[in-house]
């Protein structure tokens, strides 16, 4: 970056750099490149991949068509959609320097909805599921289905300008988890709001933590 002449006056080298940048400006001016399309494509791709992985790891539930409109399933779907909405907003903020969104605000609707559903759950569905493998299967499938989407979302973030890498990674992880959980509703037969509120949230918290951990390494530029 420093030429020999700049050794005694480093600012000379910077002046030359600025002159080169000015040249670039006049030779090939770049119009603005908005972010939103790129983000939307990334999220949609991540969801598609999550669905594919879920269908690969677990069959769609046999009664899917008949229970789709039931309160139990709609609760899961709507809860995850609220989380995804907040996550998308945070992903957008994480890719723009100087914009920060309070996570509490973005996630509050989802948290309130899931908590209320869990508190008023009258189905009597057991919190640990109906068989021994219910929790590991649920959490495990969501985690597995979130990995590739997390990678896709991190790649999407890199095309923006992330400046708080740990937060950006956490958001990517959390959103990947929520997308995977949404996909998992196709296969999930645990229809208790308490079960869903607890274990889906747990899985998403884990993916968020994983994202926060790898964020600084994966997003550095």
């Amino acid at each position: 970056m420093r030429d020999p002449a700049g050794n005694n006056n480093p600012q000379l080298a910077t002046d030359m750099l600025i002159a080169r940048m000015g040249q670039e400006i006049s030779q090939s001016p770049e119009p603005s490149r908005p972010l939103n399309t790129m983000l939307a494509n990334g999220v949609l791709l991540a969801l598609a991949v999550a669905i594919v992985v879920v269908l690969f790891l677990a069959r769609p539930r046999a009664d899917l068509v008949s229970v789709w409109t039931s309160w139990a399933v709609q609760f899961k779907v709507f809860g995850m959609l609220l989380l995804i909405g907040g996550g998308i907003r945070m992903l957008w903020a994480a890719s723009i320097p100087g914009v920060a969104i309070k996570p509490a605000l973005a996630l509050l609707p989802a948290v309130l909805f899931l908590a209320a559903g869990a508190a008023f759950d009258s189905t009597g569905f057991p919190m640990l599921g109906t068989h021994a493998l219910a929790v590991p299967a649920c959490v495990g499938t969501i985690l597995a289905a979130a990995l590739a989407p997390m990678w896709i979302l991190l790649t999407t973030l890199r095309r923006g300008i992330p400046t708080d890498l740990r937060r950006a990674g956490a958001v990517a992880g959390m959103l990947a988890g929520a997308l995977a959980a949404l996909a998992y509703t196709l296969a999930c037969v645990n229809d208790g709001a308490g079960f869903v509120g607890l274990w889906y949230s747990f899985a998403i918290a884990v993916t968020g933590a994983l994202g926060a951990f790898i964020g600084p390494k994966a997003l550095a530029w």
């Binding site: 970056m1 420093r2 080298a13 910077t14 490149r33 320097p97 100087g98 300008i161 708080d164 530029w221």
Partner: protein, 189 residues
């Protein structure tokens, strides 16, 4: 601050239309304020003027290469500040990690550093003095305290009003810089 935001915003917009004079003026003003910020934020690392300039250039390159991604409906200076902060933290992390490997030496090992390496290859004290005088003022003070006056890092820290950690970092960087200067001097002779 409003005037500066307006001026720089118009310069960025002008840049998008291929007008380079305003854009270059903005970059010059921006780099001047960057120098002040970096000097202030990374003071504890004892950066030389050249190293400070390296960081300035990194920020300029970051801003310039991503200029198309600035949404011109949003304020520019917070955008610049966030990028600046990221690059400063990133630099501090890299330089700190570099230096941290070398600062866990005993006091005796520190004074041994003065005997070997840089000094052994040079049998003329005037040459050493000349090289040391090419360091930055802060680095000169640290080298004089530890090597010429025989201070331990703690004593040097007390004498110079710095933290012990800062003294160790600055001393390590001084040795690196002196080696570089010696190489340059060796090539010339």
């Amino acid at each position: 601050m409003e005037a500066r935001e307006n001026r720089w915003t118009m310069a960025m917009r002008a840049g998008r239309l291929g007008v380079c004079a305003d854009y270059e003026r903005f970059l010059h003003e921006f780099s001047a304020s960057l120098r002040r910020i970096i000097h202030h934020q990374l003071n504890h690392l004892g950066l030389s003027a050249a190293e400070t300039e390296d960081v300035v250039q990194e920020v300029l390159i970051a801003v310039h290469s991503r200029r198309a991604q600035w949404d011109d409906r949003r304020p520019l200076i917070p955008w610049l500040n966030a990028i600046t902060r990221y690059k400063i933290v990133d630099t501090a992390r890299k330089l700190g990690r570099d230096a941290r490997r070398h600062i866990h030496l005993t006091d005796e090992e520190w004074s041994n550093l003065c005997d070997q390496d840089v000094w052994q290859e040079n049998s003329h004290p005037e040459d050493i003095e000349r090289l040391v005088s090419q360091l930055s003022a802060g680095q000169q003070a640290v080298v004089q305290a530890i090597c010429f006056q025989g201070d331990t890092p703690r004593e040097a820290a007390h004498r110079l009003g710095m933290s012990e950690g800062a003294v160790r970092v600055a001393f390590h960087r001084s040795l690196k810089q002196l080696k570089k200067l010696m190489d340059v001097a060796g090539e010339k002779s």
